[in-house]
Symmetry: D2
């Protein structure tokens, strides 16, 4: 089978196209013909070697893939050949809270990823995706979509009528904004680009703010909410935006900490957390049960995730370069 491998953690140069034998299916495993896989910030960080411990090389990258089951192990009853599925980021996180053993097997990091024609997955580590989605759309869900769902609804308790704030128009933010709107919440989104804000508005954003044009964007968020502040924020950015996010939250509001872009200034000032009685939670993707709950929400709403651009497998390096340029809106997907 054809696949991509990371052969060195030296940046994009460490990627290469490769050929491997198609894996053998164990009694509780399934073989999935991957049709699409999407890129996340974590994937870029893994390439540069700094992010994840326990990555042995060569390693097939990417956690987010969608495909069709072509073979099931002897003991598998949960799914069947022909099912259209995504793999779960943590292959062993079925439900309940995360615990350390679960974190040991993450696709595209400590375990082989999905940028391959055939991925060998646990039968408990796949999820049927909503019928109205294409493979390309479904490939956006396992990490970016689920992280947004977990942060907003499972950890943050976002309810209809609440207001959520999204920082920038990356994959987690745009999917989060769509999910928040589908759940009857108000969604405020920021960007440095008026063009991206216009796209967000068209997708359903309640309010948009250009944070370059408006350095007091956090105060503007408070005004928009009648002085109350927002109920939830997905804090994906780190750096200076963390402070603005703390300011924009209402008393007792919730901040979901997402992603590792922690530059200087991204620390949480405990006085802020204290005075406003804030709640803060670190979000590690999510469980299979959360994934299934999100899929039901996507199905009821008839929601389509936003895919900005697609690349073929042979152009995987170009896809990574495009991703790192930060010019995309929503997700970049590689098709196989």
């Amino acid at each position: 089978m054809r696949c991509v491998e990371i052969v060195a953690t030296s940046g994009i140069e460490g990627l290469r196209l490769a050929e491997r034998p198609t894996p053998k299916v164990g009694p509780r495993q399934v073989l999935v013909r991957i049709h699409a896989a999407s890129l996340n910030y974590r994937d870029a960080m893994i390439l540069s070697g700094g992010y994840v411990r326990g990555v042995s090389l060569p390693r097939i990258p990417l956690s987010d893939g969608a495909g069709e089951i072509v073979e099931v192990g002897a003991e598998v009853t949960r799914v069947k050949v022909g099912d259209r599925v995504c793999g779960t980021f943590f292959q062993r996180w079925i439900t309940g809270p995360v615990f350390p053993e679960i974190q040991e097997a993450a696709l595209g990091g400590t375990a082989e990823g999905v940028l391959t024609e055939y991925a060998l997955l646990e039968s408990d580590g796949v999820v049927r995706f909503p019928e109205h989605l294409s493979f390309i759309e479904a490939a956006t869900l396992p990490c970016a979509g689920l992280t947004a769902w977990h942060g907003l609804f499972e950890a943050g308790g976002l309810k209809a009528g609440d207001t959520a704030l999204f920082l920038g128009t990356g994959g987690v933010s745009v999917l989060g904004m769509q999910l928040a709107r589908a759940a009857g919440a108000r969604a405020i989104i920021t960007s440095s680009s008026d063009e991206k804000l216009a796209r967000a508005k068209k997708l359903g954003a309640s309010d948009t703010i250009n944070y370059v044009g408006n350095p007091h964007w956090a105060a503007t968020v408070r005004e928009i909410t009648g002085g109350r502040g927002v109920d939830c924020v997905l804090e994906v950015a780190g750096g200076a935006s963390t402070k603005g996010a703390l300011e924009a939250l209402r008393n007792g509001g919730h901040m979901a900490i997402i992603g590792g872009r922690s530059g200087p200034g991204g620390e949480l000032d405990r006085r802020f957390v204290l005075q406003k009685g804030l709640r803060v939670t670190g979000i590690n993707v999510g469980s299979r049960a959360m994934f299934e709950a999100m899929n039901r929400a996507i199905t009821v709403a008839g929601l389509h995730p936003v895919v900005d651009r697609t690349y073929e497998l042979k152009d995987a390096v170009a896809a990574y370069r495009d991703f790192q340029s930060g010019k995309h809106f929503g997700k970049i997907v590689i098709t196989l």
Copy 2:
């Protein structure tokens, strides 16, 4: 001021139009010029004397009213003259769980109600209603709307993508169905009338079932949900429908027990609760904080409650008779 009074708990004959002096406002109270008031099943039961203890006669009936604040007490800072407000069912339930003292002062029962030109309310016992609603629409919220909200979201934990079941097309069910849809949930509703089901469909119901034409409606609910069953049911009916509701719920699902229509057959079979690991909660309207949360959801969704028919104050008796006939869809409102 003009008002209606219950002078005897002998049924509708116990109602009469009356004239009372306009009340004096205490330091932490407000005077509200009521413009609309709606009927609930509880109001019919109070008339026949069986439902509520502690009702001294004559008593102004009805809990659900909307109007404008025309006077505030000396210590009041929370609201001001001109605010468009509803009274809260329990005047002293601000937030948190209910406790017995709270239940002692319920509008139109143990305390004077709102079927009057001027109602004297606690300044903590009023809520500004969404700006896009008329007084007539807002008058549907304090008991029927809030009970549905509490049962679905606060007690039941209904989330986007979940499925809720509504029994019949009374006020609680129709408002509940609208709120569930606004929150991204699927809503199944039953009725004995195809015409009412057509109206429900037009209002957004995902699926409709005529329970007369289909005595196996609970099995149909399970089929519609792919065998999983529904996540939440608002059990407003009692009698035979309780059993169907238990059958329709998924394992671990939630039943909100609402209203007092408990005829024979309405008991909960503990074996059902046990085998399916169900959760059951008795719903007593809700707190002011829940009311405010519901109003935010109604505002974000731009939702309009369904008012079936309106009557003038002088025709209050006719309104009660209409309500008791059970032919309405949604709510019956009296204007003042």
Copy 3:
């Protein structure tokens, strides 16, 4: 290996001692040398054929066993040879909420039980038990102990300072009372026997009531709590006691429905649930994560479960007869 088998669901006569080959261990399984197994009400019901569907005969009975791991499969890393463990009632319920597939494999019912010298279990389906417990004590935990823990703490939210009510002195009630006391709660327990109440008092019960001598025991419970009522009840009994339990609960209190002893009169009156805003949950034993949480509580408290009498494997029939007589206090255990 020696074991007991159910060969007919005709009552105690359907049991027999048997010899079977020791099972072969699969890659994710473990073999446990069982040293002790305890009886639950469910085990008696399974014998009479009415309780559990999907029991194929012959079947090794009992869900609650404790022993030592003597062999692990090739892929097992979670536990090791020599670990002192209990099996989990539902072999596949690791954490999170229950779902139907989980209920399909329950020890001693739909799956082979633990009244055998060697039990073959999933490596994910065993739990190390507290070091200060003997095998005999640990054998009381998997069903009776965990059901009490789940009902009190996971579903009921019992906290230090709350009051819990226990009906009778069976295994669930006595373990529940010990756990409640260890968690800083007040515990009221009832029995028809003053002698059993004296034993309960010695074990730490805060208050005891003889419900035969005091038919108004529910009113007495309310008095003892200063009129407030209890926060939680483990409703293990069904029949007339259900009504008393509803009466004894505080407004907003929680009833955990446990066990299948549902005779006439055991239905839940929905008016009671409604008026008091009660919460009711059906309890199906619990997950492995709950078991581990309970074990931590038992360890911190240094708590010892109460074993009333022990029998040898050859006297298993006598153990069942003793259990069915209902004269025991706490648990009856069979040693192997």
Copy 4:
């Protein structure tokens, strides 16, 4: 009546003994003859002017007092003359989550405090304290005790069998340690003084660590918990200890942020929060409902808060000086 006043926010020099007329009781207020009041870190900060906005001078200091009701307003039914009560820190926080209006009236800051012979309080703003406590003991509860309770149980969800970590032996930490032990949890406490650790051990601490003698105390905490880490920490200290607390927490554990001692180094590193999926909550004392729940726990356990030293009213300045020296263990109380 005699009282103490802050006349300038210039440190301890700004305190003076004063004489004021005894306040008149409004219809929903009560007059409390204060017998004891205790010092918190906040009180020291208020004196130096940096902490609380909206403190008008002269102001009676201290939030934590216990006394006897000597007069009630005309509309008061909740409490009566002779009741032994504490005032609540936020006079208007009865139950549910905090909101900004509640924070506007805090005793000894934005509202008059309790270092006075007679305090005028809201009838909804007092709580009967456990019968087995003296006025001196009860005076430790309103801020220090309730903050610990809120952080451990209401926000942190500490359960029997969990492990909690306490940093130092100030009032919040020592009371928190006692409450955790009463609730069946394990409690680890740190100090720079072996003598204080010995006192903590005597009071029930499960494990003690001298953080001066053992700079790797966080690693030691992890070892003590078998590598799992602690479930909850009360982060009262800020500065370097914040980092250790983050390290000591288990994956998914909870940090309660308490108090304003935020020096450099006290920021929360978002990467830690993220990698371990931590939960963090800012704790603002607590509601009256939480206070009542804590009192029930104290009653069931028969717990006595630790009072290190008492001073008479005339020696209030000496009490403040003693407090600021940081040599106390538990609480310092002024008697009136």
